[in-house]
Homo-oligomer: 194 residues x 2
DNA sequence: CCTTCCATGTAACCGGTTACATGATTGC
DNA sequence: GCAATCATGTAACCGGTTACATGGAAGG
């Protein structure tokens, strides 16, 4: 196993917490109360950083509650029942511990990306197809940037009224990075098409 | 399933080819002949784009050969036997088809990254810890850039004698992007620490 | 001689996604 | 009335990693 077991000790034993756990814990701590809402919130904010699914969110909520990091309340809305979660003191402590424990050496920077993998093997293509591929990659970077500026950043900015600035910052980092990549590829495009 | 089944038709039925398949196929097409060597080559080139493991490479080689995309030759080296793979015409066609078929809309740009996820939730931290986190993230970006420029790029440049330029280009894209992120975070750091 | 590297594979496990199943509420 | 959205969950599957198991070759 090596170093840094991602285990958090609670009064009731210990829980193994991984990024999806902290995603759920973090969302609840931002005031998102139901599983359904967490998934929706993740789709317009952390989707690029860490995608998730309902089939992951619901069991995780149950698990976090079982270990005392979340507290559940039945929130009856007509005949429909809904679970409203809030973070416990222990849950908040777990989140903060995680945020404070980041070690740059254990998690190396990765860009796992099929597009870039194709570019790596592009020597196999003739000049025309190489150019097409680079243009497609640019298009994707442009799409990503546009989507973030049009949808993600405004949604994040709405949270600033609650004193939350980092969602906006991260969204900007993503959009700016996408622009940087587009720019880089545009220089490559010119180089390939003189 | 939806759109774009990643299936390639061969004389002997059809194969489902995914990024790890093309990683193996591509590496063999670059002249890397054994499973062991493919893993080693991937570790100093495509690791950031698409990590892999021996437990993935070996079965994939067998599968690709079974479908006629690779051809295997027993390469006896003393008492030790080793499999030496080469790409068949069909294998080369499959690789080129994949490289030519990139659709920017189906594969959205993702930065799946635990570090950025932490930054997203950093409002939970006090100012001092926020600063520490940003500095840690910078350190990681610097490490990544340094490692690429010291190890990955020189290794890629050695391939240029064989007429391969894209491995070097992709390595530079990675290193430059890491530098960009470091720079972006350094501005954030100044903003947080006035 | 002994360590490191070359070399090939399998078994067990885990993290995550897709698909399935169900039903109430809201808004047009 | 009907469609879209809110809401919760499970089962099956898949992609990928870690750990296990084995042994020859090369280099100091």
């Amino acid at each position: 196993m090596g170093l840094g077991e991602p285990v958090f000790s609670t009064r009731s034993g210990s829980v193994r917490l991984n990024p999806p756990s902290y995603l759920v814990l973090g969302m609840v701590s931002l005031g998102v109360r139901s599983g359904y809402a967490i998934k929706k919130a993740a789709d317009i904010s952390t989707r690029f950083l860490w995608p998730t699914s309902l089939a992951q969110v619901y069991p995780e909520l149950t698990r976090l509650e079982r270990h005392g990091l979340l507290s559940r309340r039945e929130d009856r809305h007509g005949a429909r029942l809904r679970s409203a979660y809030t973070v416990t003191a222990e849950g908040r402590a777990a989140l903060i511990t995680w945020l404070r424990s980041y070690a740059p050496d254990t998690t190396p920077l990765q860009f796992r990306d099929e597009g870039a993998l194709r570019l790596f093997f592009a020597d196999t293509l003739d000049a025309g197809d190489q150019l097409t591929l680079v243009r497609q990659l640019r298009k994707r970077a442009q799409n990503a940037s546009a989507h973030m500026r049009r949808d993600i950043i405004p949604a994040a900015e709405a949270l600033e009224q609650d004193g939350l600035r980092f969602p906006t910052l991260v969204a900007h980092l993503g959009a700016d990075t996408a622009d940087y990549i587009d720019n880089w590829l545009s220089r490559l495009e010119k180089e390939l098409n003189p």
